[in-house]
Amino acid sequence: MAGGPEPVEIDPRGSFRDAARRSLAVRGPELLVHRDGTLAGEDIEALHQMRVASRRLRAVLEVYAGCFPGRAHLTLLRLVKDTADALSEARDLDVQIDGLRAYAAAAPVEDRAGVESLIAELAARRVAADDHLPPALLRLDKERFSRQVARLVEDGRR
C-alpha cells in the first residue's frame, strides 16, 4: 500500500450503489493486511499502514453510507472508528517521538537533556498505548469484522 491504495474498478456511469460494494470489497480486507505486524509491535511502519487502511475504509463507509443497510453499516462504522482511534493514539506518539528525536540530534548539546526528558515521558505513554492496541485489534475477530464486511457487500446489492 506504500505507493498508494489499490485501485477499485468503478464505472463512473454506473450506479453509486455498485461503486459502494466494489469499494468496500477492496478496502475492507485491507484493514487486516498489517494487523499481525501491528500486534507484534516490532515495526512502526505496520502500525502506520494499518492506520492508513482504517482511514480509507472509514472514508468508504462514510461516503457510501446511504448505500448500505443502516444498522449493519453503523455497527461496522463504529468498529472501524474505534480501531482507528486505538491506532491513532499509538501512531501520534510515534510521530511526536520521532520528531523530537530528530530535533534533539540537531540541537546544541546543552539543550538535549530537556528534550530527552520529554521524549522519555512520551515513550512511557507510548508503552501504555501499546496496551490498548491488542484488545482493539482482537475485537475485529470477536465482532467478526470480515463477516460484517462480506455481509454488507452482499446486502449492498439490494
Partner: protein, 178 residues
C-alpha cells in the same frame, strides 16, 4: 467537527452525480473556515479546517478520478492543506505539552529542595536543572516554526482564492459527464 450531511444522494443514481454532490459539500465545508482562519490564534478553527481538508482528500481518493484533472488537482490541494494544517496543529499540541512537562519537573525540583532543607548544595544539584534550558529553546523553535508554517499556509490559501480555484472546481463538478 461533525461532517455536514450530504443532501439528495441517490444510491441508484449515477456514481458521478452523487460524487459531485459529496465533493461540493466537502469543498464548501473547507471554505467555511475563512475568514476565521485569518487569525493565527484561532487554533480550534485551524484544526477543524485540517479535518475538513482531510475529509475532502479522502472523498477525492475515492471519487476524484471521475472528475479528471480537476479531481486530481483538488486532491493534491486538499492533501497539501491537510499536511500543513497538521503541522500547525502538531505545534499547537506540543507547546502545552512542553509547558506541562516543565511544570512537572519544577514540582519534582521543589520537592527535592524542600526535602534537602533548601541547602545551597541541593540548589546546585537540582535533578532537572539541565533540562529547563533545552525545553525553553524547544518552545521557541516550535513557535517559530508554527509562524512560518502559518504564513506558508495563508499564502497558498490566498492564491487559491485569488485564482478562483473553488469556482473552477464547482464548474467542473456541474458539467454532466465531466
Amino acid at each position: 467537527m461533525r461532517a455536514h450531511g450530504v443532501r439528495g444522494l441517490d444510491p441508484d443514481g449515477s456514481f458521478r452525480a452523487n460524487a459531485a454532490r459529496i465533493v461540493r459539500t466537502r469543498l464548501d465545508e473547507l471554505y467555511a473556515f475563512d475568514p476565521a482562519i485569518r487569525d493565527p490564534d484561532r487554533v480550534t478553527e485551524l484544526h477543524d479546517m485540517r479535518i475538513a481538508a482531510k475529509r475532502l482528500r479522502y472523498v477525492l481518493e475515492i471519487v476524484g478520478f471521475s472528475f479528471g484533472k480537476v479531481g486530481a488537482r483538488l486532491e493534491g490541494e486538499a492533501r497539501w492543506l491537510q499536511e500543513v494544517l497538521g503541522e500547525i496543529h502538531d505545534a499547537d499540541v506540543l507547546v502545552p505539552e512542553i509547558d506541562a512537562h516543565v511544570a512537572r519537573l519544577r514540582e519534582q525540583d521543589r520537592v527535592f529542595l524542600v526535602a534537602a532543607d533548601r541547602s545551597p548544595e541541593a540548589f546546585a544539584a537540582l535533578p532537572n536543572r539541565a533540562a529547563y534550558v533545552g525545553l525553553e529553546a524547544l518552545v521557541v523553535a516550535t513557535t517559530a516554526r508554527r509562524t512560518v508554517l502559518y504564513a506558508t499556509f495563508l499564502d497558498r490559501w490566498d492564491t487559491l482564492r485569488r485564482t478562483g480555484f473553488r469556482e473552477r472546481v464547482r464548474q467542473a463538478l456541474a458539467k454532466p459527464g465531466s
